[in-house]
């Protein structure tokens, strides 16, 4: 193969030496691509050149030979760097492959199924900023009696965040009948996470539970963005503030229990900080943007409202969101 390349190169070089045109230079460029494709090292290229010069100008070689040999020696190190680069590219391709598998596993493992209930309209949107989503939503419900929802945001992104999130999910799934008490839920999940992760890792969670028959929405928060409650009767929003430390910081954190009465046409909006944080637009009050959009569109379905919020906020931020974006909306 090298012999064939050498004779090709000799022809190209000799053409160029006799006629220095753009066209001949272009042919050389195409040849370079072929060299790269065939993984010819830089020192081999110099060697090909040396042999070609030797054939085209035999009388020059006597003088130039040592200089070429010298250059070949110098280029050997470039060749090593080149091969190292090649092997890094291969490793990177392997990583990307694994990352793809991990993303798929996450998608299956942490897939949220939005319940379809006749008594309450539920909408959700969760868009990751990178491949792996650092936000997670978990619904638990018992027929048309209780519906609980956990909206979580894990600090950090990518693989570590996804691993931590699986812990949260299985923690929530083992709750069984205890899922109706938000502050108890947060205390349990906090202990699970505190034991399992390092110091700089933690999770924020808003946990709400709707007693559908009695229309009571109880909630607790672990360092999470407050949810919003739109009261149709008053025609205004109330922030569902609840004190509580992030999950995973202290082992014995306590979380306050709060409840509100949910009346007809009321809306509850739960979200992660990817929704409220406008990094590039700190002149805007994000909560005002959200509330006015909801008021203007309060008659559309919960899912439609979630989609509208996403579209609007994405536009405001010039289509450059800087965090995972998750909204859950309940409409009575």
């Amino acid at each position: 193969m090298l012999k064939q390349l050498e004779s090709q190169y000799e022809k190209i070089l000799s053409d160029y030496m006799s006629d220095q045109t753009e066209k001949n230079l272009y042919i050389a460029q195409n040849f370079t691509r072929q060299l790269i494709q065939k993984n010819i090292s830089p020192e081999d290229v110099v060697n090909i050149h040396k042999n070609a010069v030797g054939k085209i100008f035999p009388d020059r070689m006597v003088e130039d030979q040592p200089a070429y040999d010298f250059l070949i020696e110098v280029m050997v190190h470039y060749g090593m760097a080149h091969r190292e680069h090649q092997s890094l590219l291969q490793i990177q391709a392997e990583y990307e492959m694994e990352m793809k598998i991990a993303t798929n596993i996450q998608k299956t493992l942490l897939k949220t199924v939005v319940p379809q209930l006749s008594s309450i309209d539920i909408g959700m949107i969760s868009i990751p900023i990178r491949k792996m989503n650092g936000d997670y939503v978990h619904f638990l419900y018992n027929r048309e009696d209780y519906l609980s929802v956990a909206v979580t945001d894990v600090v950090g992104k990518g693989v570590p965040a996804a691993l931590c999130m699986s812990m949260v999910k299985y923690g929530l799934e083992t709750l069984e009948y205890a899922y109706k008490d938000p502050s108890y839920v947060l205390e349990v999940i906090n202990r699970v996470i505190e034991k399992g992760v390092d110091d700089s890792m933690f999770v924020s969670m808003f946990y709400g539970c709707l007693d559908i028959q009695n229309s009571i929405f109880s909630y607790a928060s672990a360092g999470h963005e407050p949810a919003l409650h739109y009261s149709a009767k008053h025609g205004e929003f109330f922030s569902l503030e609840a004190k509580g430390l992030l999950l995973g910081v202290l082992s014995d954190s306590k979380y306050s229990y709060n409840e509100i009465l949910l009346e007809d046409n009321d809306i509850v909006v739960m979200m992660t900080d990817g929704v409220t944080e406008f990094r590039a637009r700190d002149d805007l009050n994000s909560r005002e943007v959200i509330t006015s959009l909801i008021v203007e569109n309060k008659h559309v379905s919960a899912q439609h409202l979630c989609n509208l919020l996403y579209k609007q906020i994405e536009k405001i931020q010039d289509f450059k969101l800087s965090d995972d974006f998750t909204v859950v909306i309940l409409k009575k």
């Binding site: 600090v155 924020s204 800087s322």
Partner: protein
């Protein structure tokens, strides 16, 4: 987007001045700088964040980790000069009840 931290030791107290934006990209250098701080028994560390114009939850995680290590090693960490935006972040996350935090205003009043 850049982040820098300078330390100054004065009367057995360590002062750190953080400047810039703390996000996913700059966080690792801040973590390294803080991990390199040697905490001795009773050491008081004051981190001034008045020149921090943005911080995301990754940044928060680094301060929590530093706070936890300092508490374990019997040091004291205090964050001062927080902008209202940063203060809100610490309040929502419940960290303002746990950590020693002073806002911009209080620092000004003290002067």
């Amino acid at each position: 987007m850049d982040m820098t931290i300078h330390f100054k030791e004065l009367d057995n107290k360590l002062y750190g001045f953080v400047e810039g934006e703390i996000d996913t990209f700059t966080a690792s250098s801040l973590r390294e700088e803080l991990e390199a701080v040697k905490i001795t028994e009773g050491l008081e560390i004051e981190l001034n964040l008045s020149k921090v114009n943005y911080m995301d939850s990754t940044g928060l995680g680094i301060f929590v980790a530093f706070y936890k290590r300092a508490s374990r090693e019997n040091g004291k960490v205090k964050l001062v000069g927080l902008s209202s935006r940063l203060q809100r972040l610490f309040e929502i996350t419940g960290l303002s009840d746990l950590m020693d935090i002073e806002t911009d205003k209080k620092v000004e009043l003290r002067k």
